[in-house]
Symmetry: C2
């Protein structure tokens, strides 16, 4: 047993400034990253956690194993294109895929609020079953807790996932190199708009459905074809911009994004204009970026475009040969500006 004293440093967060947890601490932006870096990485710090990736990869016996977790608190529980159950399976499946792992096993832990209709739970569980079958994973262990009325919000789900890494690549920010191309798997912003519309009861001319989908099959295909993938990241909370800023900072590289190559559907763009959202920050649940060695760019794009979850793939940017950690956006009219994480909260409880 270790000495207790060495473990009791003062909290490194600026507590005077933020004495209480804010919604923005879970929003995928700067405040969340401050919390993660200073509290969690600060306390638990170890080489695996320090990799700042969507999951941890380690050796067990002879196998290379990936391990990840996410809790899902989306509101409302059901939305166009999915529900909390679909999300809870696909989100964790995708985080494993982002480690370059074949997803195999999921846990599912439920925190239910007293008084929630059992029928609602049943619908969610059926969605999880369907999503697991579609993604080719098994739900093998679980837990159920019930909290008293008013101390939860219907249903929260945690899934953790275990997958196997069957290639020799190290897919993580540390592998990103100058010259890498950045491939974007499709149009962005649909999940955020679908949630927002469902939450506020908004009706747009065409209903926007969430892009929620498992992307592991596409990722496995790229790896099977020998594409030299350096890093992968799904574009969930904080959207495309936050994902790229995270990677630029973790890898200490400069990322140049090309606005023209980033597809946003007309209905999503319209909804964003009405609601005052920027699609570059909106959450997606079936989109990712791949940092790939430049010589494999064309072949990787072909593979992506031939797969249902990558049909709209584009070469959206590049890693500069040198420069400070930064993400710049080259606009349609040729100007360039810096993209940063937002510090507050655009849209809480998106996943």
């Amino acid at each position: 047993m270790q000495d207790v004293k060495e473990f009791s440093p003062a909290c490194p967060l600026p507590i005077e400034q933020y004495p209480q947890v804010l919604l923005a601490h879970g929003g995928g932006g700067r405040l969340m990253h401050q919390l993660i870096e200073q509290v969690f990485v600060g306390a638990f710090g170890n080489p695996l956690l320090n990799a700042r990736h969507d999951g941890a990869t380690f050796r067990l016996g002879g196998a290379r194993v990936a391990f990840t977790t996410d809790s899902y608190v989306v509101r409302p529980l059901f939305f166009p294109g999915g529900d909390i159950g679909t999300l809870a399976v696909n989100g964790t499946v995708n985080d494993l895929a982002m480690c370059g792992a074949q997803p195999l096993y999921l846990s599912s832990a439920f925190i239910l609020e007293e008084g929630m209709p059992v029928e609602t739970l049943w619908r969610v569980v059926q969605s999880m079953k369907r999503a697991a079958a579609e993604a080719g994973v098994s739900l093998v262990t679980g837990d159920t807790k019930v909290v008293d009325r008013g101390k939860g919000d219907g249903i929260f789900i945690n899934t953790a996932g275990v997958g196997i890494v069957e290639h020799g690549l190290d897919i993580s920010p540390a592998s990103v190199r100058g010259g890498d191309v950045i491939l974007l798997s499709g149009d962005i912003g649909r999940h955020g708009i679908a949630i927002m519309a469902a939450r506020e009861g908004l009706e747009f001319e065409c209903a926007v459905e969430s892009d929620c989908a498992p992307v592991a099959d596409l990722v496995m295909r790229m790896l099977d074809e020998g594409i030299e993938v350096h890093c992968l990241r799904d574009l969930t909370r904080g959207g495309l911009t936050s994902a790229l800023v995270e990677i630029a900072e973790a890898a200490c590289v400069r990322v140049q994004l090309d606005e023209q190559a980033v597809s946003v559907r007309e209905d999503v763009r319209g909804a964003c204009e009405i609601l005052g959202f920027d699609p570059f920050y909106l959450a997606n649940e079936g989109r990712f970026v791949a940092f790939v060695a430049p010589r494999d760019a064309e072949r990787a794009l072909e593979i992506m475009r031939s797969h249902p979850t990558g049909e709209g793939a584009s070469l959206a940017g590049r890693v500069a040969e040198s420069g400070n950690p930064l993400v710049t956006l080259r606009s349609r009219i040729g100007t360039s500006r810096i993209l940063d994480m937002f510090s507050g909260e655009q849209l809480p409880r998106i996943c």
Copy 2:
């Protein structure tokens, strides 16, 4: 993609009887088991889940891997002998140990309520760090969600765990045999009383501290010494009785428990009398039962008693050579009665 229709059966729970989720659905008793069996095992059912154990064990590459999860919603967050952070680490470490696995890696996912003091989170995280160091595990991946004020209860934590199984035994209810001895690792009921006292602001003559502790080191020692362990189960929600009833039902065996060999501390017994609790149903967080081949009973007890977390171990019961799935208690005065799970809720949010 599979046909959606085949996945939409009607909910098998008696919804007319329980249209809403009750606190008892998370209480470790009969209602929780009905929910798990009919909804979760019913929907997700696969051989690993069907083993009805504290975690799943499977092969990955050449390795035998154990995988488990639990969410922690204990109220209050801090109690004599531990807090939600200690619990979140030890609970999952112990579930891995109950699979006969050496715990290695944990995930930690936080659901925070807007407005919670950051200082409280920091204290909990420090506890997790200490508990992880004590149990010899690393926290390698995580997640943070924030829910709006009034939609959570300060802090909920989920941990999932991955461990490695380095022996040839199949430690699960299916391995339990007639004649097995049942070893109990120590006195029971302390965690339940500690929580209850902290929650209600009760002060007993001597403060009862939770027994919260990691038991993996003791379990590994038993396995290293070649003890033929058939099944292990920690005595959390529902306590000793529910654990034994679960195993008796899953293994289809009759279990005979000896009241005289079950140690309950005087202060715990006194508190139970005042509060109207039965210590046989109270939660523990550092106690377990081991079903062991009879020829190894003496040696196993010696190993347990020589370890800090098993000092008070006893031979508490036996598996009958035949009989229906049932747990019977032989009292101090020689009479015998049947023990069953409670159907309602003795003490909600104990872990």
